[in-house]
């Protein structure tokens, strides 16, 4: 006779000791979500609604923004919060739909590596970016570059 497990019985035994990472992941999704609503809707408003919207976005536009620490911090927060939020969301989805443990591990590993690389790359770009690169044509960079 087939035994029917009690409702909500996990597929594998739950961790009894140590840090409950799933709980902190759950809290993180909500806390970062609230911050991301402000950050991303603000990002979309400034870049797509104000001025000429999508048509205004070019190297000079981004150079102008990143010459202000305000937007550097804004984008840095978005980068970290959104990538970790997104990667943890993908982890949840992989856990739900991938039943083969090895496949799940490989997918989650790939996701983790991709997120780590992009966080490092994005952070380096924000802080090492030069809005007025030497030798760049004046019509492609921000107006303040020619004042130097």
């Amino acid at each position: 006779m087939t035994t029917i497990q009690a409702p909500r019985t996990p597929s594998r035994s739950t961790r009894k000791r140590g840090i409950n990472w799933d709980k902190y992941g759950w809290i993180y999704m909500r806390a970062s979500g609230v911050l991301l609503i402000v950050l991303i809707l603000g990002h979309l408003f400034v870049n797509l609604i104000l001025g000429e919207g999508i048509k205004q976005i070019d190297f000079a536009f981004v150079g102008g923004k990143y010459s202000a620490p305000f937007w550097q911090i804004w984008d840095l927060l978005m980068l970290w919060l959104a990538l970790i939020h997104g990667t943890n969301g993908m982890r949840t989805i992989i856990n739900d739909y991938i039943h083969n443990r090895m496949t799940g591990r490989v997918l989650k590993g790939a996701m983790f590596i991709a997120a780590a690389i992009l966080i490092v790359l994005g952070t380096l770009v924000i802080f090492t970016f030069d809005p007025c690169p030497a030798g760049a044509p004046a019509n492609l960079v921000a107006d303040f570059c020619s004042a130097k």
Binding site: E52, F59, A60, L79
Partner: protein, 112 residues
Amino acid sequence: MWSWVFHRITGVAIFFFLLVHILDTSLIRVSPEAYNAVIGTYKNPIMGLGETILVAAVVFHAFNGLRIILIDFWSKGAKYQRLMFWTVVGLWVVLMLGFVPIHLANVFSEVG
């Protein structure tokens, strides 16, 4: 159930866009020409429609995320979850009515 399905679908879509968007923005570190060439592709009408769908996905995910938080933390959240779903849909419609005409006007204008 549909709010849950849409939350997942929009979440996955936004995640993959985010990966691409970090890479394209990183081109500012390469050269003005490289960045402008790639960001230029975002300005053609087909991509403009794609951006409209992306913003629609982001706005839904944002408001439905707030609804999930209210269901979890507000004592009456579960009771009002259905009403809150339609509130999410209503807010989504209002924001999209504000965004879409402005964005499409920018996309289909000859400026730039």
